[in-house]
């Protein structure tokens, strides 16, 4: 009886993926304890966030993909309406208009879009029978552009870029023409000097600092410089948990959120980094496998996009903290402190598991 109940409980959970996730989440509690200056309250709050996120994961994993497919369009429309609502009535905080006050709660519609947009595009291509035509890609591009432009206007460049990426992955996996891709890339590359010459001096200077933080050690470059020192000084085996000087002596800014990777790196060194990269790789490989085995167009496109978006978050965050990418506000998935992003992430993993565990037998 109990074993039946247990079986029912884990029926739609992918054991391998879940193991990787739980291990990473557990590690994140320890990293956060160190990063927050040994604050139990922070760790407790993070634990609550994690519990909520895992419950969401379980619930979503139990929803069959065809039902998800059915809500793709309404969810997308809701998201767009809310984004328009934000543009018109949103509350402003820190110079950006991102939140919508609906009665008692504040919601951030761009977070909904993170999952609604890939679902919408996957649904759209699933509806087109056979090989998609260029006009389908053009329309899909429009569906992608609407929320991206709205989010960019808020302004929230980081989120809009990542949402663009998640939509682009769907287009790519749906078979966007190679020639078109190459052409667009060449066009962008050849136009960039023109854009560059159109910029004001101070705008150019900002971009230069973005790529070379040492030019502005007191301003925008400070974060990156301190983060690189933290990573480099970690050495091959790290300074040990709670022993990172950069972290514990307050040199690292934003160290519980966007720059938490520097904390990890300083205290666990090159070996720790390889372990984390390995863990992330396992998650990504599992996600790609799920995508490749998925049975419907909708689920395979969605699974592919979710996995690659996870990769993009991880790569952009580690890249910016280690100084090979410009600083854009992107958290490290599964590790950074922050409730909303944790819940959205686990929700997307719930979808992956749902796709994998709701397969029907197909005659081959």
């Amino acid at each position: 009886m109990i074993s039946r109940l247990f079986h029912r409980f884990v029926e739609h959970i992918d054991a391998f993926l879940m193991a990787c996730l739980l291990f990473t989440l557990l590690a994140s509690l320890f990293i956060l304890y160190s990063a927050s200056g040994q604050s139990f309250e922070r760790v407790y709050a993070h634990g609550i966030n994690t519990a909520v996120a895992l419950s969401v994961l379980w619930v979503v994993a139990n929803i069959p993909p065809n039902q998800l497919e059915r809500i793709a369009l309404p969810l997308y429309l809701l998201g767009v309406i809310l984004l328009i609502g934000v543009a018109l009535f949103g509350t402003i905080s820190h110079g950006a208009r991102r939140w919508l006050n609906v009665g008692i709660i504040h919601i951030q519609p761009s977070e909904i879009m993170r999952i609604a947009l890939p679902m919408m595009l996957a649904w759209y291509f699933a509806k087109r029978e056979g090989k998609p035509k260029p006009s389908h890609f053009a329309f899909a591009g429009l569906l992608l552009a609407i929320p991206v432009v709205l989010i960019m206007k808020q302004p929230d460049l980081g989120t809009s870029l990542l949402i663009t990426a998640s939509g682009f992955f769907i287009l790519f996996l749906a078979g966007l023409n190679w020639k078109f891709l190459l052409g667009a890339a060449t066009l962008l590359a050849s136009l960039s000097p023109v854009f560059w010459s159109m910029l004001h001096d101070y705008q150019r200077r900002r971009i230069e600092i973005l790529f070379d933080p040492t030019q502005d050690p007191l301003g925008a470059g400070y974060h990156t410089i301190q983060a690189i020192i933290a990573i480099g000084s970690g050495g091959s085996a790290g300074k040990g948990w709670l022993n990172g000087t950069q972290t514990q002596l307050d040199f690292l800014p934003e160290r519980t959120t966007d720059f938490i990777f520097a904390v990890f790196s300083e205290e666990f060194g090159f070996l720790g980094n390889m372990l984390l990269l390995g863990l992330f790789s396992l998650i990504i490989i599992r996600g790609l496998m799920i995508a490749s085995q998925a049975q419907s167009t909708f689920s395979r496109l969605l699974a592919g996009s979710i996995t690659l978006t996870f990769f993009t978050y991880a790569f952009v965050n580690m890249g910016m903290v280690s100084g090979i990418l410009p600083v854009v506000g992107v958290p490290l998935p599964l590790i950074s402190y922050g409730g909303t992003s944790m819940v959205m992430l686990c929700l997307s993993f719930g979808i992956l598991m749902s796709i994998h565990t709701h397969k029907k037998l197909v005659a081959t």
């Binding site: 301003g219 480099g232 000084s233 091959s236 090159f270 167009t297 690659l308 990769f311 890249g319």
Partner: protein
């Protein structure tokens, strides 16, 4: 069925191909990250290890010296000097009151210091240090330094202060700097200049100090300092020197400024004088003025109240933000509009019976002279300021033609001046009235625009600029205060070139009629005959009065029975020498009565000094030699003097 399945397998095959490609991309990008980590953590480990070990190294910003502001002859209007200040970091102190009481045993702290401290404290964050006393002398600084150990959280700092040696003189032009507040910080963050202000406490708040903030501020340098466990600097590792700000050299002359301001006495008003050929502003007066030095260290509440609540409104920048009806000074421009439209050409003349009225209407638009001026042609109409003549001319031209013509003289639009906050003034049109009042335009309103009344409003700067454009035969030069910007390191000067803003082609014959009419104003028989007497050069001028309160149809205006603040504003515009103008100006004396007698003499003194180098004889004795005295006696070493005594009593 079979085809569908084939299709499905086909689709899946291509999907997996693409997925495989992305897997390759993932692997190579993660490999890139891994190699970056290898580079930082294994290869460069020693380097970063050292950096982290020495991360007690701190970066200390070094604020640049702010650029100087000099007049055309190099007289200093704004400069910097170091002072010792005693500063408290509230976050580090338990009992603030007790600490201040204890400090005052060593260093005198006045109630005013306390008030300013409280105000600044509210404006700054708890962990920032706030000055409790400024301008400590050597003895006070030494006294405190000996007892420093008793006061953690209280420090003596050496700060760069701004000083305006000439005090009240030209303060609306020079402006002042003040402590950076939250709004300034937000603006700096928006413009991306925040890191350049890491070491700065002050920023331009008004006048040229505000407009040329970018040029004056300079670039902040920084020093890498190794600090010991207590946070004290042990040695300098590397340093990047700050680049001082540029100096501003004005086209105005402080001596001329002093003469102009003194000429106003204690009356309120404004004067702007421009070189019509270049647009250089020669004098820029707003009366009364204020002492900008009060604002530098943060103004105390008492002085602030005194300035802000004064009925005379000394803080208002009148040339830029004071709006007045132009009155009769508008007439030369209306005259030119008429002549250029082919109306009232000589030998045309009217018979003025003292009023203008529409056919079939009993409403009379009265002339200022009840009995009328008799036979009047265009030139004489300007000279004697005949209202009746201009009522009819405005009517015949129509409001659209009139306003579109005089707009070329800068009325109703901003002049793109190098001070912030300029007001547009108002050149009324029927569309404007419909928008503003939802009412149609009445012909009677056109009539009174002809004599500069009605809705028409100008700023003194606009009026001066219009006069300057008239003097320059319709060519509008962009007005500016700063003539040169000097790199303070190389001494190289960038000269602001004259810029043509607008150009209207005028018939020289028409210009001649207007000019002759205006010259006659300052000759016997004109409305300002006394202004031209014994001048030694010819002055083209026009007087004006602007009503402050409305006069009813059958009422008479009696200057003596009216409250001083309700008296007419006196206006005066002039350019000289009339045949080759070198200076054009506008003067407004608030509630001064008649333009010729109240505003004219001020203009004459300014022109006399500018053209002939002549000091006003009657006033010469009254011009005080102002040697700037610093409140605490800590006067800077190089104190420029304004008017040398020996020259005064020549």
């Amino acid at each position: 069925m079979g085809a569908e399945l084939r299709n499905y397998l086909h689709e899946q095959y291509y999907f997996r191909l693409r997925l495989g490609f992305t897997a390759l991309v993932v692997i190579s990008l993660f490999a890139l990250l891994a190699s970056r980590f290898y580079y930082l953590q294994v290869k460069q480990y020693n380097h970063y290890q050292t950096l982290a070990e020495n991360n007690r190294i701190s970066l200390i910003p070094i604020a640049p010296n702010r650029g100087l502001i000099l007049d055309k002859n190099g007289v200093v209007l704004a400069h910097n000097f170091f002072v010792y200040t005693l500063e408290i970091t509230p976050a580090k102190i338990k009992d603030l009151e007790a600490t201040i009481a204890e400090i005052s045993q060593f260093v005198e702290i006045s109630p005013l210091d306390r008030k300013r401290f409280n105000r600044l404290r509210q404006e700054s964050r708890n962990f920032e240090s706030v000055p409790i006393r400024t301008h400590l002398n050597e003895v006070e600084a030494a006294k405190f330094a000996v007892n420093h150990f008793r006061f953690p959280g209280v420090e003596i700092k050496s700060r760069l202060f701004r000083h305006y040696p000439l005090g009240k003189l030209g303060s609306h032009m020079v402006g002042y700097i003040g402590r950076i507040n939250d709004k300034d910080l937000a603006d700096l963050e928006k413009s991306g200049d925040l890191s350049n202000y890491k070491g700065s406490d002050h920023i331009g708040k008004s006048g040229l100090e505000q407009f040329y903030e970018r040029q004056l501020h300079g670039t902040t340098g920084f020093q890498q300092v190794e600090v010991d466990a207590d946070g004290h600097a042990v040695r300098v590792l590397s340093s990047n020197a700050p680049i001082p700000g540029d100096n501003l050299i004005l086209s105005a002359d402080s001596k001329l400024q002093e003469i102009a301001e003194t000429a106003f006495g204690d009356r309120r008003g404004a004067l702007v004088a421009i070189n019509p050929k270049t647009g250089e502003v020669l004098s820029y007066v707003s009366q009364p003025t204020f002492d900008p030095n009060l604002f530098v260290g943060g103004i105390d509440t008492e002085n602030w109240k005194l300035l802000n609540d004064s009925l005379d409104k000394p803080l208002i920048n009148r040339p830029l933000r004071g709006i007045y009806p132009p009155g009769s000074t508008f007439k030369p421009f209306v005259a030119l509009a008429g002549l250029e439209a082919g109306k009232r050409m000589p030998p045309f003349s009217i018979h003025d019976a003292g009023y203008f009225s529409f056919p079939n209407s009993r409403h009379r638009y009265r002339d200022w002279k009840p009995s009328g001026h008799g036979i009047v042609d265009m030139q004489r109409a300007i000279t004697i300021s005949c209202d009746t003549f201009f009522y009819g001319l405005a009517m015949e031209l129509g409001i659209e033609k009139l306003t579109s013509f005089v707009r070329h003289f800068g009325f109703g639009r901003k002049s793109d001046f190098d001070l912030k906050g300029e007001i547009e003034g108002l050149l009324p049109t029927p569309e404007w009235k419909m928008r503003r009042f939802k009412q149609p335009w009445y012909p009677g309103e056109t009539v009174i625009v002809g004599i500069g009344q009605g809705y028409t409003l100008v700023t003194p700067l606009q009026l001066a600029q219009a006069t300057s454009i008239l003097a320059n035969n319709g060519v509008a030069m962009k007005p500016h205060l700063v003539a040169q910007i000097q790199n303070s390191l190389t001494g190289k000067r960038h000269i602001s070139p004259p810029v043509v803003q607008d150009k209207i082609t005028l018939n020289p014959d028409n210009m001649d009629i207007v000019r002759r009419g205006m010259v006659d104003v300052t000759l016997p028989g004109g409305t300002a005959a006394s202004i031209g007497a014994n001048a030694g050069y010819s002055i083209a001028a026009k007087t004006g009065t602007a009503q402050v309160i409305g006069i009813k149809q059958n009422e008479k205006y009696n200057e003596h029975t009216i409250n001083e603040r309700h008296r007419d504003h006196a206006l005066f515009i002039a350019f000289a020498p009339a045949e080759d103008p070198k200076i054009a100006l506008a003067v407004i004396v608030e509630n001064g009565g008649h333009g010729g007698s109240a505003a004219g003499p001020i203009a004459r003194k300014v022109m006399d000094y500018y053209l002939l180098g002549k000091l006003p004889i009657a006033e010469a004795a009254k011009i005080e030699v102002k040697i700037p005295i610093n409140a605490t006696g800590n006067a800077p070493a190089t104190t420029p003097r304004l008017v040398p005594e020996e020259e005064l009593y020549d």
